[in-house]
Amino acid sequence: MNDMALLLWARGPGLQIALVVFIAGMLLKLFEIFSLGRKKDLSTPRPGKAWSGLKTIFSRSLPDKTLLKRSFPTYLMGYTFHIGFFIALLFLAPHIELFRNTTGLGWPALPGALVDGISLLTIVALLLMLGYRLYHPVKRFLSTFDDYASWALTMAPLLSGYLAFHHLLLPYTQMLALHILSVELLLVCMPFTKLFHTVSLFISRWYNGDALGHKGARL
Amino acid sequence: MSGNAAPLLHEIAALLDRLALTGEGGSVQLNGLPLQPGDYEALQEALGEGEVSAEIQALGPSLIRETALHGVWWATHRNALQEVVAESIEVTRCPALLQTPAEDVAEAARILRERLSVATKGEHDV
């Protein structure tokens, strides 16, 4: 199979398969989670806390002061990675073209050089996160195969995209094919790894916020 | 100066250094380079117009001009239909195409002798 054939497979059948697994898998997981249900809290809800679930979805995106001080590297690298990843995903012109083509929605792109710099920063942050995970005894103890797999699945599109953008290591056509394939692998694995947090974090934040609000905790 | 003119001028400067030091220059092929609009003009402006200009009629006209920078020549080769077939900047004391090929020198001597012998024969006949 030559590079072009690989690229065409990635842009055609590969994408179809990945999308099917991704969409079906995500829905399956969501149904599974919601159908588990929770025990009804029979206590009287405290007053004035009706929106605490919704509020927590947003408020938990901001760092807690005590935790920020205690594990600053985790926060710094975590924010850098997440923000950088979304900028690269949403503001590189070819990516926007993909969204426009599939969903009909489009928005202006950022200059390639800016997205490029941010991507590099994101890759560095991810590498440091892996290093810190391996170095820190507690983190290492808590890490499972899922954590490392999720890291690799996230790193692959970033790295291959960066290398493709700069025409490094492999011919561009081949690297672009690998980049698209790595994204497809990410989509396929998303429902079945810790990467599901992209969706489940909203559910758990709402649940936690609502439960705490019910008890009258300050949020 | 925008685009690709500046890097080309740096390359020409390096070739001039080499020519001054070792006597060996070099050339930059202009066709085949991704010149942006304006690059070509910028190059011409930076190099200027020099003292020597020669035209060669061989497989169409070739114009070879020394630029204002001594040792830097601008060569434009055209075919019989005046289309540019090659264009280059030569860094040399004299472009190879201007020099007479050694075989042609030998041939010229032979041809001249032939003409002389024909002429002498003619004189005797009178």
Binding site: L7, R11, V21, L27, S35 | L33, L35, A58, G60, H77
Partner: protein, 368 residues
């Protein structure tokens, strides 16, 4: 027919001076992307080069490749190089026709066995024994096998011969394949493009004439001197891509300003060819310069690579239906899981037994 006369002698016979020859060599060096310092060596080699016999076979093709080569007006480089070879068979260009033409081919194949250069344009249909394209009653498949046997090397001219091209495109009714799919034991140079740039065809011939060897090839068998870099990398509009300035339609402000055509489907980033630098029509321009994106015609399967007008980063097949099917499957599967979960919970509730402290004490007493 080929003879023992050297190329230098032949050109001088045609009244071309040594300076003219040197100029020709200089232009060829620039054509082959060789440094100017190599011109004397090229001149020396070409001066002594013997005219090779060339057999040109046209199979399932549109004659566009031959048109591309011959449209260049003489006396151009192309003309000179064509004069420098002995074109012993080319059924569009040769004067002879019918049996005389085929006899010329057979004579050349016999006389120069092992030495002639075979040029092929067009793909080769293989379905149903190759009946879909024949010359003088001989299928292209058989003729290729026969002619390849005595060839020193094969040049596959055009995307059809190099990668299958248009006849190979889905659904490929004739089972068309590339030369390299059939011939495995001969050196093959792919000069792809629909059509290839004329000077690229002649550049390969010039290289063969000069060095007697094949030029350095990429992983798709194309000469690196011409296919070493992508259209995108050599495009004069590249700075706009880097700045994120794109034409959105063919007649908007961006298009008028000459901005990047990526969003209009330009395949420049994945297309390797010399258009951006060598250009077309005696160096006039190339498609992107005329405001149209690159179609990617020098790459395999370019007809099946999705719309010419959709960006490279978009899917080549619509994803809507797949997404809908997936969503339906997800909902059905999810509902099944939910039912199962409810069932488990209900079973747990109904199986629940109340336990008193006495029961527990009794149980622990028994185990002791």
């Amino acid at each position: 027919m080929s003879d023992e006369q050297s190329l230098g002698a032949l050109l001088r016979e045609q009244g071309i001076s040594r300076r003219g020859f040197l100029k020709f060599c200089g232009a060829m060096a620039s054509l082959m992307a060789l440094p100017g310092s190599m011109v004397p060596a090229i001149a020396a080699a070409l001066d002594k080069a013997l005219r090779p016999s060339v057999i040109w076979l046209s199979f399932q093709e549109c004659t566009g490749c031959t048109e591309s080569l011959t449209r260049s007006h003489s006396p151009t480089l192309e003309g000179l190089i064509l004069n420098a070879i002995s074109l012993d068979y080319h059924h569009t260009l040769q004067a002879a026709s019918g049996e005389a033409a085929e006899a010329a081919r057979e004579a050349a194949m016999k006389q120069f066995f092992g030495k002639y250069l075979l040029i092929v344009d067009g793909s080769i249909p293989t379905k149903d024994g190759g009946v879909y394209s024949t010359i003088a009653g001989v299928s292209n498949l058989d003729m290729l096998h026969e002619a390849a046997k005595g060839a020193a090397a094969i040049v596959a001219v055009g995307t059809c011969a190099a990668f299958g091209g248009l006849p190979h495109a889905n659904p490929n009714p004739t089972g068309a394949v590339a030369v390299s799919d059939i011939i495995r034991d001969k050196p093959i140079i792919n000069v792809s493009g629909c059509p290839p740039i004329p000077v690229v065809i002649t550049g390969v011939l010039a290289h063969y004439l000069t060095f007697g060897t094949l030029p350095e090839l990429d992983d798709l068998g194309r000469p690196k001197a011409f296919y070493g870099e992508s259209i995108h990398d050599r495009c004069y509009r590249r700075p706009f891509y880097d700045q994120g300035k794109f034409a959105k339609t063919f007649d908007d402000e961006g298009a008028r300003n000459g901005w990047c055509l990526f969003e209009l489907g330009c395949k420049g980033p994945t297309t390797f060819n010399a258009c951006a630098t060598t250009k077309w029509n005696q160096g006039t321009s190339f498609p992107i310069e005329s405001g149209h994106g690159c179609l990617g015609c020098s790459e395999p399967n370019f007809w099946d690579a999705g719309s010419f007008y959709h960006a490279l980063s978009t899917p080549i097949t619509p994803v809507g239906r797949a997404a809908a099917v997936a969503a339906a499957a997800g909902i059905v599967g999810g509902a099944a899981i939910a039912m199962h979960n409810r069932h488990v919970k209900a079973a747990a509730r109904s199986g629940h037994q109340t336990v008193t402290v006495n029961d527990l004490e009794q149980a622990s007493g028994e185990t002791k």
